[in-house]
C-alpha cells in the first residue's frame, strides 16, 4: 500500500516535471524524425484523396489532399519526406517492421488495420457514393503516442 503510494507520487512528479514531453514514444519515432530530418511516408496507390504518378526512372511523385497534409507536417518537423509506394497491406507490414513513420492511403476511421497501426483522429469527413459518412484518418506506428499526438495537433491546426 505504502509502496504503491510512494511509486504513484514519484511517477506524478516525474510526469509533471516533463509535462511537455508527455506522452513519449516507446520506440522514439518523433525524436528520430527530428534528428535524422527524414519522415518516411508510405503512400497507398489507387487510394482516393491522393494521386501517385510513377515517373519513368522508377521514382514516384505523390500529390493530393493527404500528400499536402503530410508535406506540411514534415515541414513543421524540419524533415524531408522519403516516399514509399505500395499496397495498403504491404505498407502496414512495413510499418509494423518499423520502416515507415506515416501511412497515407485514404484510410477510414473504421479501418481493420486499427490493431496493427495507430490511427489518428479523423482530420476530415466526406460522404461516400452510398450516402454514408466516412471519416478520414492517417496511420502511424502502433503505440508511438508522442508522434501520434504531435501529428493530431498538426491536423487540428490544419482543420481550422
Amino acid at each position: 500500500m505504502r509502496l504503491t503510494l510512494a511509486l504513484l507520487c514519484g511517477l506524478v512528479i516525474l510526469a509533471l516535471g516533463g509535462c511537455g514531453t508527455i506522452p513519449r514514444d516507446p520506440d522514439g519515432t518523433l525524436e528520430r524524425v527530428r534528428s535524422e530530418q527524414s519522415l518516411r511516408v508510405g503512400a497507398s496507390d489507387g487510394a482516393d484523396r491522393l494521386e501517385v504518378h510513377v515517373a519513368g526512372d522508377g521514382g514516384a511523385e505523390v500529390s493530393g489532399t493527404e500528400a499536402d497534409l503530410v508535406s506540411g507536417f514534415a515541414e513543421e518537423l524540419g524533415a524531408q519526406i522519403e516516399w514509399t509506394v505500395g499496397g495498403e497491406t504491404e505498407l502496414v507490414h512495413a510499418m509494423e517492421r518499423g520502416e515507415l513513420d506515416v501511412i497515407i492511403g485514404g484510410l477510414h476511421s473504421d479501418s481493420p488495420w486499427a490493431d496493427a497501426v495507430s490511427l489518428t483522429r479523423p482530420y476530415a469527413e466526406s460522404t461516400d457514393p452510398e450516402g454514408s459518412t466516412v471519416q478520414h484518418v492517417l496511420a502511424v506506428p502502433l503505440g508511438e503516442n508522442g508522434f501520434l499526438v504531435t501529428l493530431e495537433r498538426y491536423l487540428d491546426r490544419e482543420a481550422e
Partner: protein, 349 residues
C-alpha cells in the same frame, strides 16, 4: 399478506408476529436499531449504484485502447453486482414464510452472494488471460489526443482524471457500509464494503499504467491491467469460498467470518440454566441475516412439560434478533457432530 404465514405465526404465542412490510426481514421484525441500519444500508447502496453507473459512463468515454482502463471499466461494471444483489436480497428476504417456503426467503442472500462471487471469479480469470496475452505479444497501446473546447490534449490526462473520480468514492462508501454490514449481519454488504475499501488501489494501478505509457513505457499499461485483474481474481476466490461455505450450512459465524458466532455460546449457556436438562447441544446455521437454530436437550427425568420447553425457547429467542427460528427437541442421547459446550466466552448483553 400471506394466509399461510398467518396460520404459522398465529398458533405460537411466543413468536414475534409481524406483518410483512418496511423494516422487516420476512418473519423477523427488526429491532429499531437494525431497522434504521437497514434503511441507511439501502440508501447507501442506491447511492453506490448511481455513482458506479456514472463511473462506468465516464470511464467508457475516455478508455480508448488502454488495457488497464478496459480492466478498470469492467471492474466498475462488476462492482454494480454486489449493491444490486444486496437490494435484491433484502427485497426478497422480506417475504414471509409459507408452506412452500417454510424457512422464508433469507437464502436469497446466499444465492445473490454466490452469483456475484462467480461473476468476479470468471471475470478475474478472463482479464488475467486478456491482459497477460497482450503483454506477451508486446502490444503497444495507442493513446492519442482528444479535442476539448478547441484544445488538443493527450487523452491519458483525461483517463487519469476519470480514474481519480472512480477511485475516491468507493473508499468513502466502503467505510460507511462496513458498520452497517456488521449491525445487519449481512455478508453481501460486507463483501461489497470490503471490495469498495480496496478500490482505490485499482484506480491507482490504472493511473500508474497510464502515466507509464505517457513516459514511453509500453508495458506499464499491461502490467497495471494484470495487477487489477489479479485483485479481481483474488476477490472472486475469497467470495466464492465464503458463499460456498454458507450454502453448505457451516456453523454460523460472525459477519466477517472471523469466528464462530458468539450467540451459539449464549444458547448453550441458556440451556445450562434450565434445571430439567442434563446435557444439551445445538446446531445453528446462517440463513442470511437470521439464524436457524436447533437445540437438542437430554432431560433429567422421564417427562418434560410444554411450559419448560416454551420457557427455554423464549429465553433463547430473547438473546438476539437474529434468532428467529428456534426449534427445541428432546432426545435420549445427543447426536454426534454438534456443539455441546460454550467456548467459555459470555458476551455482554
Amino acid at each position: 399478506m400471506n394466509p399461510d404465514h398467518d396460520e404459522w405465526s398465529g398458533g405460537e404465542p411466543m413468536t414475534r408476529v409481524s406483518p410483512t412490510g418496511e423494516g422487516l426481514l420476512g418473519h423477523t421484525s427488526l429491532p429499531a436499531e437494525q431497522r434504521e441500519l437497514l434503511r441507511r444500508a439501502r440508501r447507501l447502496e442506491i447511492v453506490s449504484l448511481v455513482y458506479l453507473l456514472s463511473c462506468v459512463v465516464v470511464v467508457y468515454l475516455v478508455m480508448g485502447s488502454s488495457q488497464a482502463m478496459k480492466v478498470a471499466w469492467i471492474e466498475d461494471l462488476l462492482s454494480l453486482i454486489p449493491p444490486a444483489a444486496f437490494l435484491f436480497a433484502v427485497h426478497r428476504a422480506r417475504r414471509g414464510r409459507s408452506v412452500a417456503h417454510p424457512y422464508g426467503h433469507h437464502r436469497a442472500v446466499a444465492a445473490a452472494h454466490l452469483t456475484a462471487a462467480l461473476a468476479l471469479l470468471a471475470m478475474g480469470l478472463f482479464l488475467i488471460y486478456d491482459s497477460g496475452s497482450g503483454l506477451i505479444a508486446a502490444e503497444h497501446p495507442p493513446i492519442g489526443s482528444m479535442q476539448i473546447a478547441g484544445q488538443t490534449i493527450w487523452a491519458g490526462w483525461l483517463m487519469i482524471a476519470a480514474m481519480v473520480y472512480t477511485g475516491v468514492g468507493p473508499v468513502i462508501l466502503g467505510r460507511m457500509k462496513m458498520p452497517l454490514a456488521e449491525g445487519l449481519h449481512d455478508k453481501v454488504l460486507y463483501a461489497d464494503a470490503d471490495m469498495n475499501k480496496a478500490d482505490w488501489m485499482t484506480a491507482g494501478a490504472a493511473v500508474l499504467g497510464i502515466l507509464g505509457i505517457g513516459l514511453g513505457l509500453w508495458w506499464a499499461d499491461g502490467a497495471a491491467a494484470l495487477v487489477i485483474s489479479a485483485s479481481i481474481l483474488k476477490d472472486g476466490v475469497s467470495q466464492v469460498r465464503g458463499a460456498f461455505a454458507d450454502l453448505l450450512d457451516t456453523e454460523a459465524r460472525t459477519f466477517d467470518d472471523s469466528e464462530v458466532h458468539p450467540v451459539i455460546d449464549e444458547i448453550l449457556a441458556a440451556t445450562r440454566t434450565a434445571p430439567w436438562i442434563t446435557h444439551a447441544g445445538c446446531r445453528v446455521r446462517d440463513e442470511g441475516h437470521v439464524f436457524h437454530a436447533e437445540v437438542f436437550t437430554v432431560p433429567v427425568g422421564p417427562s418434560v412439560t410444554v411450559d419448560q420447553l416454551e420457557t427455554l425457547r423464549s429465553a433463547i429467542l430473547a438473546l438476539d434478533w437474529k434468532l428467529d427460528d428456534v426449534v427445541i427437541t428432546v432426545v435420549a442421547e445427543l447426536p454426534e457432530g454438534i456443539r455441546t459446550s460454550p467456548r467459555g466466552m459470555q458476551r455482554e448483553q
